[in-house]
């Protein structure tokens, strides 16, 4: 007798992705699809796609989805959630979308305590537009617009979104995870589950920041990228729970 131990989640479509080799987006989308399948929530889940590499998320997830203007998914999601307060609404955003052009929207969604799950894929670079500096680009990191590396004087410091949102009373669950190893991917799935649970139990605003590789615009191979996440990125962006409604300090 055959036992299936691993298969494509039903919520993932058969469309080949447009992501570059070694990109982390495919992993995150798969994890979301696995949770939707396991929890049986496909028919009550609505996703928000941003502008940037993740815009075509709606081609890969077999659920109702809406596109938003650059940075606006938290506001558009707010409008959707007010119509369907018992549905599971999530945004899927990159670092340029959420932490630069959409800073106001994410801060105020958190401040209102919107009962929505925000999935924040941080790869420290604008991938879709050929690798420019992101708000989360690390000091010294070379990008298309910081050819000599990001320096504090000209470009400021990388923004730590989880820590920034933690000071707002409206945020309920904030965790930073990474995709650098199978173990970390399992932790990422747990964090995503916690984010969706936070929403389903109406506990309010949840955001999961996922450190994700961009080998193409980091000018590295896949292995170096994973090492870079573990050894460099996590020094600027420490992993772990930043805020949790279940374990209030």
């Amino acid at each position: 007798m055959q036992t299936i131990i691993y298969e494509k989640p039903k919520t993932l479509t058969d469309t080949p992705t447009h992501f570059c080799p070694g990109c982390g987006h495919g992993i995150v989308l798969r994890l979301i699809a696995e949770i939707i399948d396991t929890w049986g929530i496909r028919s009550k889940t609505i996703g928000l796609a941003p502008v940037g590499c993740a815009v075509l998320a709606y081609n890969y997830l077999d659920i109702d989805m809406c596109e938003a203007a650059h940075g606006r998914p938290p506001a558009v999601a707010t409008g959707i959630k007010r119509v369907h307060p018992d549905h599971v609404v999530f945004t899927y955003q990159g670092d340029g979308d959420l932490a630069a052009i959409g800073t106001a929207e994410i801060i105020h969604a958190a401040n209102r305590g919107e009962n929505i799950t925000f999935i924040f894929v941080n790869n420290a670079v604008y991938g879709m537009t050929s690798g420019q500096m992101a708000p989360t680009t690390m000091l010294g990191q070379k990008t298309a617009t910081t050819p000599s590396g990001r320096d504090v004087i000209n470009y400021g410091n990388p923004i730590r979104i989880c820590e920034l949102l933690a000071v707002l009373d409206g945020s309920s669950y904030l965790e930073r995870v990474s995709l650098s190893s199978p173990e970390n991917i399992r932790k990422t799935k747990k964090a995503l589950e916690k984010g969706f649970k936070t929403q389903i139990e109406k506990r309010g605003f949840s955001l999961i920041e996922i450190l994700s590789p961009c080998p193409i615009y980091w000018r590295m191979d896949a292995n170096e990228s994973m090492k870079y996440i573990d050894e460099d990125m996590t020094r600027t962006f420490p992993l772990g729970v930043v805020k949790d409604w279940e374990h209030k300090n």
Binding site: I46, V55, L56, Y58, M65, R72, A75, I80, A104
Partner: protein
Amino acid sequence: MKQLLTGNEAAAEAAILAGCRYYYGYPITPQNELINYMSVRMPQVGGTFIQAESEIAAISMVHGSAAAGGRSMTSSSSPGISLKQEGISYLAGSELPCVIINIQRGGPGLGDISASQADYFQAVKGGGHGDYHTIVLAPSSVQEMADLVYDAFDMSDNYRNPVMILGDAQIGQLMEPVEFYKKQKNNLPAKNWSLTGAQGRKRNIIKSFYPVKGELEEFNAHLQKKYKMIEEHEIRYEAINIHEADIILVAYGTSARICKEVVKKSQQFKFKVGMVRPITLWPFPKEIIRRISEKVQCILTVEMSAGQMVEDVRLAVESRCPVHFYGRTGGGVPTSLEVIRKIVEIVPDNKVANTLLKLAEVK
């Protein structure tokens, strides 16, 4: 029962009666009565009121509620409407219904807070990026504001297109008696495209991104076909004395109220004045203006701007008769006497005989 309300309040109440349950706003003068009214009324009817963090967020929230199938609205005034253009372009590109109210004030920049009609170009020519149109309705009284808000929701649902109500500080803030007739269309198309969760059906996707070569051109052709249909079915205007007139005034909103007074006062002159008041600014009533231009001596467009709608009048007239313009900007409001002086200046001499002497006595 008639109520004495400002245009802003009438717009808000009419929206509630039209079934709007999702309102997102941001404070800006001269539309504050509207957002304030909504903050009281929406909770009373179980609706959503959010004072958003910005105009951009407010229109994006409209985007979300419209995508989810709810009747949604936002309102603002000129500088705030500029900020909303990003969202309006996305709404048009995603074919989402919604109502946007612009209570115009003076510009450019921060301008001032008094009445203006200087956002005409922005409203009727698209405003944001891309080949699109919003349907633009121009009320000239508080009652008409209420009536047009019902129609705006029905039209937006019918065509899956944003509708803008283009008022100004005077229409928004003056108080007049208004009666609310709830008259929602019954045969509106079902919103089976909306995001409700993919229950027993294929997923729905609301988007405006068409990266595959040829797809966007095809989508734009579809939009243009829709706009053509709107032009065929939705043009509205009010015509006064157009059959015997020597000169026709073209004006909308507050300017049209002034021009109505001009038509009345002109009865004491030898020349005859009529007027056309566009109610839909887009689609523009170009056919009636074209027909009129074949019979009259000249046309005078009156606006509270440096001359914007006059360009559409000229496009309709195609040089069949002279098209003149009289306007005031930056909060200046034309008086009926100013308009009459302008008429005297442009009407051919033989029609003005004896008029100049009387001008000082115009009542």
